[in-house]
């Protein structure tokens, strides 16, 4: 059991699970509700750093720090959502992208709090012992499955139908008396807080937190995975992450023995392949590999 997965494999699998969760949460925000969130890394990174700071700088108990970190992300998402959710999708894109850039900047510059590029200290695993990393992996697995199950159930619930209606034609939904601003704000806050939760749990995965973790690459990877897999499906994020991040960050980097002088080319190759995949999918299957819309309700 101990040697079933090497330390690095556990780390990579944990990372992959986090990406699956993020992509599924993005499915909820974008695929279901039509909210354009290009600040995924902002919510994730805020959760990660808030948790690390509360734990290390303020010495709060582990789960208190975790809950508080998620609450902070929820609050920030609420305020940001309040401002941008009723704007058009371009404005949402720019605002969320800018938000993520601000978070990355603050983490770099506010050294008194984050220690800047030097890096915050080491965030411990939630449980100690020899299997601590495996426990964390298990927690991430359970939570990620939870998010997918939630997405699946929500898609077939009245609130999911409301979100689809808002995405399709918001004015018409309002015409039917739907408080669309409220629905979007609640949902955006909840799902962004979810991103924050997975950010907080990424802190012990990464252990040593530095600002370069918060680059826009995280957001782009999540978006590409979701678009490739199928933005309209609860399993779209999972499929997309398996085909992109899993193949590169897990299979290739863990098991493929590449000559050392190739090592620098792999990340560049990876980005190129991501790009090519995205273009091909958008050209031939614009709704992603899983395809277009769901079956309508056919009887009561």
């Amino acid at each position: 059991m101990i040697d079933l997965l090497s330390g690095y494999a556990i780390f990579s699998l944990s990372t992959v699970l986090v990406f699956v969760a993020l992509a599924t949460l993005l499915h909820l925000q974008f695929g279901l509700a039509g909210i354009v969130n290009f600040g995924v890394v902002g919510f994730w990174g805020l959760g990660m750093y808030a948790f690390g700071i509360l734990l290390l700088n303020f010495q709060l108990p582990y789960f208190v720090a975790l809950i508080l970190a998620v609450a902070i992300v929820a609050l920030v998402a609420f305020v940001l959502g309040w401002v941008v959710l009723d704007l058009d999708s371009q404005a949402q894109l720019v605002a969320t992208l800018a938000f993520a850039a601000v978070i990355a900047d603050l983490v770099t510059t506010e050294k008194w709090l984050t220690k800047g590029v030097v890096g915050l200290g080491t965030v411990p695993h939630p449980f100690g012992g020899a299997q601590s990393a495996l426990w964390l992996l298990l927690i991430l697995l359970v939570l990620t499955v939870g998010v997918i199950v939630y997405a699946r159930l929500l898609g077939r619930s009245p609130f999911g139908r409301l979100l689809a209606a808002i995405r399709d034609n918001e004015v018409l939904a309002r015409n039917l008396g739907k408080d669309t601003s409220r629905a979007k704000l609640i949902f955006f806050t909840l799902t962004s807080a979810g991103m924050g939760l997975f950010g907080a749990l990424s802190a012990p995965v990464r252990q040593f937190l530095t600002p370069d973790l918060l680059g826009p690459g995280v957001t782009f990877s999540v978006w590409i995975a979701l678009i490739v897999g199928g933005k309209r499906w609860p399993l779209g994020g999972l499929l997309g992450v398996l085909l992109t991040i899993f193949v590169f960050d897990f299979l290739i980097e863990t098991y493929l023995r590449v000559p050392s002088d190739w090592a620098q080319i792999i990340p560049i190759l990876k980005l190129m392949l991501y790009g090519v995949t995205l273009v091909l999918v958008l050209l031939f299957r614009p709704f992603g590999l899983l395809g277009d819309r769901r079956q309508p309700t056919s009887h009561l």
Binding site: L162, A173, D179, Q295, P296, H299
Partner: protein
């Protein structure tokens, strides 16, 4: 007869300096089913959008009275106005692209308490509760694939009207409801609307260019041109008004 009313005072709207709506004093809903007629570009659709809050007026006061309650709806948001029981059907086709016919209807029927982030299992109860109302409309109106999507323009128009009726509004504004519908479906729509007006006290204002329908269905008519209400009265009074003839029916479509 219904006791719901909309009153407008000094309501103005202009686009780029051109006044498209200038309503000095207007009361809608005093006479059960009313008509609103006038030439293309008269400002009829704009008037409805002003009332429901889809667009906001530059000036003026709009009040909504229902069952003895008085609501100032000037500047109120579209969805807030709809929740008071004042809704409109659309002239131009409006649809939820990814919702099937039944989904569209369920969206209308659902109560806010069932429509929550954690209400993951509310669907079964909703369907049971919505069953009678939805079935009634499915029996009354023909859809080529009732278990699928609204396909033709006519079906989408019909669905738009049914969605509004399922809300059981107190006041229904209908913007050219019959365009694109076959005659028998038009008759059916009018039958259902008149029934709701009679039995549930729903007030109705219908915009139409189909004047036969207006003369047949409406008890009172408002005539509009150039953003203003120019004449009001019973169908007979309006039909025989020389001004209405000159400004509208003289154009050849009567």
């Amino acid at each position: 007869m219904s006791n719901n009313q909309i009153t407008l005072k000094g309501v103005k709207k202009s686009y780029g300096g051109r006044v498209v709506s200038d309503i000095a004093d207007l009361a809608l809903g005093r006479h059960g089913v009313e008509g609103l007629i006038g030439p293309n570009g008269a400002g009829k659709t704009t008037l409805m959008s002003l009332i429901t809050g889809k667009i906001s007026a530059d000036a003026g006061e709009i009040l909504f009275f229902e069952n003895g309650n008085r609501h100032d709806i000037s500047g109120k948001k579209l969805d807030a106005v709809a929740r008071l029981g004042l809704v409109r059907t659309n002239q131009r086709i409006q649809d939820f692209e990814s919702l099937g016919i039944l989904d569209s209807m369920l969206l209308s029927v659902v109560q806010p308490a069932q429509e929550t982030v954690l209400g993951l299992f509310a669907e079964t109860a909703l369907r049971q509760q919505a069953h009678p109302a939805i079935n009634r409309y499915l029996e009354a109106f023909r859809f080529s694939d009732p278990g699928g999507y609204a396909l033709s323009a006519g079906e989408k128009k019909l669905l738009d009207i049914i969605r509004c009726l399922l809300l059981k509004p107190k006041f229904l504004l209908m913007d050219e409801p019959t365009v694109g519908l076959p005659q028998d479906q038009t008759d059916k729509v009018m039958e259902v609307v008149r029934e709701a007006a009679r039995d549930d006290g729903m007030s109705v204002v219908i915009i139409e260019h189909d004047l036969d329908l207006i003369w047949n269905v409406c008890e009172y008519i408002h005539f509009m041109a150039d953003g203003r209400i120019m004449a009001q009265g019973t169908p007979d009074e309006v039909r025989t008004s020389t001004m209405v003839r000159e400004k509208y029916m003289g154009e050849g479509d009567a």
